[in-house]
Amino acid sequence: MPAQLSFTGFAWKNLWRRRLRTLLTLGGITMGIGAFVALVGFSRAFEREWMRLYSNAGTDIAVVETNFLNTSLDQSLDAKIRAVPDVERSAPMIFNLIDLTPDVNALVYGWPAGSYELDALKYLSGRRFQDGKPEAILGNLLADDLKKKAGDSLPIQGTVFTVVGIFHGGTALEDGAVIMPLDQMQAISSMEGKVTAFHVKLRPAPSGESYDDYVKQAEKQIEAAIPGVHADPAADRAANNGLVSLAHAVAWGTSSIALLIGILGIANTMAMSVFERTREIGILRALGWKGGHVILLILTEATALGVVGGLFGIVAGWVALRVLAALPQTASVVSTSVSPIHLLEALLIAIASGVTAGAYPAWRGAHLSPVEALRYE
């Protein structure tokens, strides 16, 4: 059987003739897609973790000031929230990202010992903390990182806490966190009498009323009862809280820059390739290749770079997420779960990058005069 030449085989041979350049170009798009997979994947997983944090505890509404990062509400508002008819439970809380050791920082929550959110945790050892005492419970991931167990001590912001229990919460935001009494957290944060937010659990929705409508009604009741606060559905707070918004912005900003560099790399490679192959394109045109065939050839080459770079990038991004999830500095906020849709998005972005980057070189190649191209040295 004689050797067959397919259109894609021809495109592959064209790419492989300049191996180093092709590999470097692949490196560029791999980095871009890898950054997208890792960073945007991280920020989305971060958002999902927040949602799970709320849903695991049964939180329906978060009551905050305008800005979640700097929000500061009087703890005394708790009584007003509880007085709202549809509210079943209200839990004041503070959270912050704190350095526990030079290598490990973690989310630290301050909850009252009676908070309904503590009910959602599964205790692997020890017990709950008590209000008014320097006690803390650790998520199992953080306990492993710090090599702490119930009964050990843990200095936080100059105060020595006793680890009284180890729990499993089901999200990285809890399992990599410290939870202490709200009063202790207020003390080490200089926020006496203040809280970051109130998490609210509503009474079951009356039959026949949709959950969304019921939550909206409760939000209005809370905002009417306490002017100046925002009562947001848990899903909105998960998506729009300051940390998640910051993570999204950094992830998209960084990966956009990396993707742009990758696209420019492909564009440069394809432009150089068309320039170097001017005479060959003239030969193809002399053989009767239509301009459209030349465009298709060059776009196939550029898209192949995008697809292969995209696949490498997906692997690289996933590996980066695994590494981040294993590092003590980031383990508490990084989840390794990546949705298939996110990977599909990455691949589509890679393909679009190839097509975009190849468009102008392809157009230029198709519009070369055959006779001029044949004369090209």
Partner: protein, 225 residues
């Protein structure tokens, strides 16, 4: 095949090709007709416009004025011109113009890639053509592994790939020694006889010119009487 059919297969009417805003004229009103199955040599000194005329006749370039007709119809522009080149014309060049990254058999197939044929059909046809050119043992070699004569035979096989009606050769023996030149000429004449193709050769070599029954002599962009 020595009996030409009645109408011209190719006709040049008032071809003018100018460059540099008309300051340079390569062709200055060329009229010529080539009959179906005819073997014509276009001769003339260097720079006389003979290659330019060949490019116009084969649809590689478009005239500034005038038109080229194929079997009585203008060859058109754009996609029509591409179709004319791919389906009716086979080009052979002095410099062979093989693609260096492709094997001989792939160089022949590449001419067929633009047309809708299956991979195995293209490969089989390419193999048959190379075998016809006496290159059965060389079809998996790259151009830089072939002699000049072999490269030109690959180029001829490529030119024949899409069953063209016309074979246009621009100085096909210009880069060959006398033995290979004679061989290539013999191949071209054999192809014309066996397939009944129209053969137009641009040459400045007297021996090749003498082999053609009719000459078109060009000087300074005009056909000499």
């Amino acid at each position: 095949m020595n009996s030409p059919t009645p109408g011209p297969i190719l006709e040049a009417r008032g071809l003018v090709k100018s460059y540099d805003d008309g300051r340079v004229q390569a062709l200055r009103g060329v009229d010529a007709a080539i009959a179906e199955g005819e073997y014509v040599a276009i001769t003339g000194p260097s720079g006389s416009g003979k290659s330019t005329l060949l490019h116009m006749l084969g649809g590689l370039d478009t005239p500034s004025e005038g038109q080229v007709l194929f079997r009585g119809s203008p060859v058109g522009k754009g996609a029509d011109l591409d179709r004319f080149r791919s389906q009716q014309v086979g080009f052979i060049f002095q410099a062979f113009h093989l693609l260096p990254t492709l094997r001989a058999i792939e160089n022949v197939q590449v001419a067929m890639l633009g047309l809708t044929q299956r991979n195995n059909h293209r490969a089989e046809r390419a193999a048959a053509l190379l075998e016809e050119m006496g290159l059965r043992e060389r079809m998996n070699h790259y151009p830089n592994e072939l002699s000049a004569g072999e490269r030109q035979r690959v180029a001829i096989a490529r030119a024949l790939a899409n069953h063209p009606a016309i074979l246009l050769a621009d100085e096909p023996t210009g880069n060959l020694d006398s033995v290979n030149s004679a061989h290539i000429l013999e191949i071209l004449r054999g192809i014309r006889q066996q397939r009944g193709m129209t053969l137009v050769i641009v040459t400045h070599e007297q021996e090749i010119a003498r082999s053609a029954p009719r000459h078109i002599r060009i000087r300074d962009g005009r056909i000499e009487a």
